[in-house]
Amino acid sequence: MVEMVSRPYEAAFEKHAMAHDEVLCLSADLTSSCEIDKFRDNHPEKFLSLGMAEQNMMSFAGGLGLAGYRPFVHSFGVFLYRRPYDQLMASIAYPRRKVRLMGFLPGITTPGGMTHQAIEDISVMRSIPNMTILETGDATEVESICEAADSIDGPVYCRVLRGSVPRLFDTPIEVGEMRELETGDDILIVSSGITTEEAMRASAALKGAGVSVRHLHLNTIKPFDHKTMLDHIASVKGGVITLENHVVDGGIGSLMAETMADNGVGKRLVRLGLKDTYAHGGSRAYLMRYYGLDALALVQGIEDLMGQKFGITEDDLSAARVEAVHSLVKAEGL
């Protein structure tokens, strides 16, 4: 059984913020939803409530950056780039302000439907010059995200998990280092965020079926270590498959495609994720199945990649975790 950690961001942020005078906490009326409500109550001098007004918050954060502060801006990921995109560009990205954008509820981890689901954030952020992108995939990465983000000399966007988060790793994020979870030589699986847990479920079953899997987990999406990735691609006999909580355009699937094309790697690539579609509201487990982002979808993708059937069924995959809708670790409806 994986250990489940309750609200790992809460304590990690407090610890980091209290250790650094230049760190400030900004919030846009989603304070408990971003697990900074205790911080607000305990450290009001470091907390700024900016209301439900994200455009202003972004340029304001840019101004704080100009004053030598390193603001951690909290909201749902979606509200950090869709409405305030222009402010993000002009006030934060261009001048390379040290603004830390903490985006909660990435992709389909929210039941809030299209308006709440950041499904193209990585694509958008990847195309912004000067931007760094980090993504958390377990509790240990959430616990180390503040330090990792704050080490960046410029702006950084982070996909942060909240609530009850599984612990999959025992070492903190090291910016730029991918995690080697399996080192087989048949095919290469690349995952990030919540899809890593799914890929771990799939790779256990695949190993049982005799497939030698190489599995990499990405917590640093930009900048990207193309050279190390090329070595991994070269060390498998077959192709590459990506699984992402994001549209397949512009995310880690595209990142792999670019890496392979740029270097003339003639191997097959299967990209799993949302395929040119918006999602809708529903539980995470339902949405992962419906849009093909789960372990079973990955197994099927690998069957396609290898041109072989393994006869792996849902029962062969270790049980998926189902999040309780009304779990007390979740402060709001969303």
Binding site: D29, S49, M52, P111, Y278, H326, E332, G333
Partner: protein
């Protein structure tokens, strides 16, 4: 004026029915957007039961499951606007701008005979179109508004287009006060005033709360009525729980200006027990089974019904 389905119940009864349904739903599901039923019940009841000029619903009383998002491969896509009746030049349109009020809006559809009670059982269920944050395919919705502050602008554009076409129907927007923190709300009012868009009518739930709690503690917004007047709207304040005041307010002439009715509401009206949680009422989740049981008994009594027999 044709008022299909209206006036079978008094507006007071519709409002009470809305609170009862949202209460029952929240007790059964261990939480929900209950306080929005308290503040908004009379406003939505009045709109649907009296003020809106709508035709009979064109979509099935029991909502269909989710049928996909707009896409070239989904030619049969349609929104949930059919629960508000057909689109016609003389009929009104309504947007629920704060899409988290969906639970209250669905309860209103049921109370006014526009959706079957089974619809509420599908709320937030996987594969259902009756979504927690009203999507444009959800019953009674025509546009996506989960990203707050965009409703009034869309309404202004629709209203302008309808005016150009010589249509006589109004475009109504149900708004929340949190929306005034978004700059776009002010841009929308200015656009309405500048282009003399007076077929837009809005009613805003001024409950003075938002996710984090009291609006004054999150970001003060000051005298929003005066500010809106300065931006070019015709503004009328009403008591959100006094239907006569809404009936009067809507008669206010507003040539060349949008009308905004500011409804001064209580976020625990009709469910006084909720005051214990004030001002953190945005989403009520019971802290324990004991609290859930007590809220069940006390609020049921306030609403004049038996406690809900829920599964533990």
């Amino acid at each position: 004026m044709e008022h299909a389905l209206q006036n079978e119940k008094t507006t007071e009864d519709v409002a009470l029915g809305i609170r009862r349904r949202v209460f029952e739903h929240s007790i059964r599901n261990n939480g929900g957007y209950m306080s929005q039923a308290c503040s908004a019940a009379e406003q939505l009841a009045w709109l649907y039961n009296e003020e809106l000029n709508l035709g009979a619903p064109t979509l099935p009383m029991i909502p269909k499951p989710f049928e996909g998002v707009p896409h070239k491969d989904n030619p049969d896509y349609h929104t949930g606007a059919g629960y508000n009746g057909p689109v016609a030049p003389d009929l009104d349109r309504l947007f629920i701008a704060p899409a988290h009020y969906a639970l209250v809006a669905y309860a209103t559809l049921i109370e006014t005979g526009r959706m079957a009670p089974e619809g509420l059982e599908m709320f937030n269920k996987d594969g259902s179109s009756v979504e927690m944050i009203g999507a444009e395919h959800s019953p009674g919705m025509e546009v996506h508004n989960g990203t707050l502050g965009i409703g009034l602008s869309t309404a202004a554009g629709l209203a302008y287009g309808r005016k150009l076409r010589g249509e006589t129907g109004n475009v109504w927007v149900y708004m929340s006060d949190g929306e005034v923190q978004e700059g776009q709300t002010w841009e929308a009012i200015a656009a309405c005033a500048h282009h003399k868009i007076d077929n837009v009518k809005a009613i805003m739930d001024v409950n003075r709360q938002q996710c984090d709690g009291a609006m004054d503690s999150v970001m003060e917004v000051g005298d929003i009525g005066r500010k809106m007047e300065e931006f070019g709207a015709k503004v009328v304040w009403v008591d959100a729980h006094n239907i006569d005041e809404m009936r009067e307010a809507v008669k206010t002439p507003h040539p060349g200006q949008p009308l905004i009715i500011l409804a001064n509401s209580s976020p625990f009206e009709g469910m006084p027990t909720l005051e214990e949680r004030f001002p953190r009422l945005h989403y009520v989740r019971f802290k324990s089974e004991e609290e859930r049981a007590r809220f069940n008994t006390e609020i049921a009594a306030s609403l004049g019904i038996d406690p809900i027999d829920y599964a533990h």
